[in-house]
């Protein structure tokens, strides 16, 4: 049996290891046009900022892959023949497979803006993106970023670390407030501005202008404002890489469509990670996080090995670091006040320094979610509380258990408890 995996990101690499755990004799091939070895995609920013070298981004040494007999091929796949079960690589070479996993990842959104294909217009997703950015950096004094989400702030921090002035255009009325409630969004927005990053809210891109030599010279906003710059960062989300799958006749919608076991409609072909769209009664879900990619890689491997596995995400969680502000979230938090279901109540405590905040959300008295800003909280504890449907009183009385800040850190549990109990009573 020959398992071929397209893409050595977190989903593909995890699947390769998980297949090997189950099948000692199968042949496993991991194909990537991007990099020789699996690396941590969320760490790309640290490569550019000089915190780490490329080798430091590899979670496993080369010999790990050799020991597991996972073959690695550095190539892009040009065509998939699902009937003959054969791939054609960019070098013209053919590669037969028995089982194929598509873990082709995603790419930055380009919404058809005029000038979006000029030089020095780019997103931040791949190793090649960092390389392109590095090449552009010597001539960049000012950069404009389009889209104010997680990647936007990462790219802003990166450029800022090299002394490049950054303007961020965000469609929303507060930083990333389609994902964060107003208080958290404002906390981050204030920090971004304190850092000298020019955050323009309620602003959208109309076009990118040409410098006459095929490179970006500036942007024009929908309000007609012109901002001169040498680099435009496209950070308005990512879209699944489906081209090679679609050409092969594998059904795709937003992503490569799979069922809960991560099988596509074509026999012997599976999909996982950023490129996959999991069909469900409420429409398809595309999940593009590190841990969802890891979990999907595990499920895809189990399915390929003939097990009855289903991808179930469990209690939602996520984390990020906005400049120096850390964020942990567990469970459901409806950001916009107007969209909150009846019975959803929010309690928000904020430290006077505006560097720490805690939000606890209840529905009909039961704790369903939280946001922690500038505080570290334990995943397993919150997961348990949410699964056990604890009430706010219990959770607030046991807040200490959830704290994961470094020893000797300042603690504010009494203040949080008093404030949040009053709001959630």
């Amino acid at each position: 049996m020959h398992v071929v995996i397209l893409g050595n990101g977190i989903a593909g690499a995890t699947a390769a290891v998980e297949v090997r755990k189950r099948q000692k004799a199968w042949r496993i091939t991991l194909i990537s046009g991007e990099s020789d070895l699996f690396y941590s995609r969320p760490a790309l920013m640290y490569l550019y900022m000089g915190h780490m070298r490329l080798g430091d981004l590899h979670p496993y040494e080369r010999r790990f892959w050799d020991d597991l007999r996972i073959e690695r091929v550095r190539a892009w796949v040009e065509h998939i023949d699902t009937r003959e079960r054969r791939l054609r690589l960019d070098r013209g070479e053919a590669m037969p497979y028995d089982l194929l996993l598509l873990a082709t990842g995603a790419q930055p959104n380009r919404f058809g803006w005029p000038g979006q294909d000029l030089q020095r217009v780019q997103g931040l997703y791949s190793l090649q993106d960092v390389e392109t950015l590095e090449r552009a950096t010597p001539v960049v004094r000012h950069a404009v970023l389009v889209g104010g989400g997680l990647i936007g702030i990462e790219l802003a921090e990166m450029l800022h670390s090299r002394g490049i002035h950054v303007t961020m255009l965000a469609r929303e009325s507060a930083y990333w407030n389609n994902a964060l409630p107003d208080q958290e969004a404002q906390m981050i927005g204030r920090l971004v501005r304190e850092r000298g990053i020019d955050l323009r809210l309620g602003t959208q891109l109309a076009e990118i202008t040409d410098d006459g030599r095929g490179g970006a010279a500036g942007v024009v906003t929908r309000d007609g404002e012109r901002i001169a710059c040498q680099l435009v960062g496209l950070t308005a989300g990512v879209t699944p890489n489906v081209a090679v799958a679609r050409d092969a006749g594998i059904p795709c919608s937003r992503g490569v469509v799979v069922d809960a076991s991560l099988r596509t409609a074509i026999d012997g072909v599976f999909a996982a990670g950023d490129c996959a769209e999991i069909a469900g009664p409420d429409g398809g879900r595309v999940e593009q996080l590190w841990y969802t990619g890891k979990a999907q890689g595990e499920v895809a491997a189990a399915t390929m090995c003939g097990e009855r596995a289903r991808y179930e995400r469990g209690v939602w969680f996520n984390s990020a670091k906005f400049l120096d502000l850390e964020w942990h979230t567990y469970g459901q938090v409806t950001p916009a006040v107007g969209q909150r279901p009846a019975g959803e109540r929010h309690g928000w405590w904020q430290h006077p320094s505006a560097r720490h905040g805690l939000r606890v959300v209840t529905r009909d008295g039961v704790v369903v979610g939280m946001n922690a800003m500038g505080l570290r909280h334990r995943h397993r504890v919150w997961e348990r509380w949410i699964a056990e449907r604890r009430d706010a009183g219990y959770v607030l009385d046991h807040l200490r258990e959830a704290n994961f800040d470094a020893e000797l850190s300042r603690r504010w549990e009494p203040q949080m408890r008093a404030s949040l109990k009053e709001q959630l009573a």
Partner: protein, 455 residues
């Protein structure tokens, strides 16, 4: 693809790095080094306190200016921008030059002390004041060592000022170095007493349990000497296991010890240079335990010889002790241990050779409540923790599978937790040591059973 472009920057680092204060600071430090060189060869046109102030004052003012210009006004948070682009920190030309300078200083110190006469003269007035005695090259060394810990401690504290654990810990290492490893020994000397270091014990300060040292200290029943010997025995055999059980080896290695103190402060710019390879771990487990065996054997030989009245083992045990002193006490702890900071990272001595760390590590691995816990599924495998671990532990390997980090070598510096961008790591003294080995909830029972199974 060409991977050079992503590993080497084509553009200058942030503008903050070229502030005038940094340049002025660097110039002053360079002037300080030149003045030190002039003093070393006896060409400094000053003497006494003036010379002392000129050399160490100029360098110190430069260092403070550099630290202030680099960090003051920057937002609190991780300050690792450009670390991998800095030649001095990445085994570039400047790094090798620094390594050469450090190793040369240590070679002179251990084997050609008389060549340091010019520098020793600089600290003469300080020695007279503190110790009531003329300076020698060991006093010079103690002074430079303490000076480095104080100034680089200020730098470290400023870099990690948003983490209280780091501030308290840095205050602790500076306090123990300045007080217990510099001022108290000097004061003892002033009082005509033995220069005793209360923060170093056997087997790191191996001669404290040598029969000759004990005889010297307790000569003519000096009560202070008896206290010193008792202190050394209690610290080595009673306090060490108890404190390590409750807090892990960090209570000593990154809070009290002078070697650790220098690594945590002066060594901080080089912490990421420690090797994370599996081969380094394999080497470490052999080397550190071999040194421990060597010093236990050495001590045992000396005592046997002393019990036998020096008849049988006389020459042999003394010779063995002096070879140990040369290889471990001088070459490995000094020349390699500190001299190689810019080449192999800041904990070469502590990780590969220190017998004290070996003992503390064995306790930490099997009988301690200390561990680094990881936070569920939040790890993104970025590698900051492993990169900045000065002991070369692949912290990420544990974090990405949600496992506790229980390792003999971890000194509990807490930097992995500080640099983690997702709040995944936390140093903790847990309620049990159940994550040590199978059945470690009942270690004695486990031990007996394993013995029974083997016999």
């Amino acid at each position: 693809m060409n991977e050079m472009a992503v590993t080497r920057p084509l553009a200058p680092a942030a503008s903050g790095r070229t502030r005038p204060g940094r340049v002025a600071g660097a110039v002053l430090m360079a002037v300080g080094v030149v003045l030190l060189g002039a003093a070393a060869v006896g060409r400094l046109p000053a003497s006494g306190w003036t010379a002392f102030a000129l050399v160490f004052g100029t360098f110190g003012v430069g260092a403070i200016a550099h630290i202030v210009a680099t960090y003051v006004g920057t937002p609190p948070g991780i300050q690792n921008d450009g670390v991998q682009f800095n030649g001095a920190q990445t085994r570039g030309f400047a790094g090798w030059l620094l390594g050469l300078a450090f190793t040369t200083f240590y070679c002179l110190l251990y084997w050609k002390g008389e060549l340091l006469g010019g520098m020793v003269a600089l600290v003469e007035p300080l020695s007279r004041m503190l110790r009531g005695a003329p300076a020698d090259h060991w006093f010079l060394y103690g002074f430079v060592y303490t000076y480095a810990i104080v100034f680089m401690g200020v730098r470290f504290a400023y870099r990690y000022r948003h983490v209280r654990y780091q501030l308290v810990r840095t205050a602790s290492v500076v306090f123990f170095q300045l007080g217990f490893a510099f001022l108290i020994p000097a004061f003892l000397r002033l009082m005509q007493q033995p220069e005793f270091y209360f923060t170093y014990f056997w087997p790191l300060k191996y001669d404290y349990l040598f029969p000759g040292t004990i005889a010297d200290l307790t000569k003519s029943g000096a009560s202070l000497g008896v206290f010193m010997v008792t202190w050394g025995v209690v610290a080595a055999f009673v306090a060490t296991p108890i404190l390590t059980y409750y807090f892990g080896k960090r209570w000593y290695c990154s809070w009290v010890c002078g070697c650790g103190g220098l690594a945590e402060t002066a060594g901080d710019p080089f912490r990421h240079l420690s090797s994370k390879k599996l081969s380094a771990w394999k080497f470490e487990r052999w080397s550190i335990h071999l040194v421990l065996v060597a010093i236990v054997l050495c001590t045992a030989l000396l005592w046997t010889n002393s019990a036998l009245g020096g008849d049988v083992l006389g020459r042999f045990s003394q010779g063995y002790a002096s070879v140990y002193g040369f290889v471990v006490g001088a070459a490995l702890s000094g020349v390699v241990g500190v001299g190689f900071y810019p080449l192999l990272g800041s904990r070469v001595w502590c990780r590969f050779f220190c017998p004290q760390a070996a003992i503390l590590g064995l306790f930490q691995r099997f009988f301690s409540r200390f561990r680094i816990t990881t936070n569920g599924g939040q790890c993104i495998s970025c590698g900051n923790c492993s990169t900045y671990c000065e002991m070369g532990i692949d912290v990420r390997a544990y974090a990405q599978r949600g496992a506790n980090v229980v390792r003999a070598s971890c000194v509990g510096c807490g930097i992995c937790a500080a640099v983690c961008p997702r709040g995944v790591l936390k140093l903790e003294n847990g309620p049990t040591h159940g994550d040590r080995f199978e059945h470690s909830g009942k270690p004695l029972k486990a031990l007996l059973e394993s013995l029974r199974a083997r016999s």
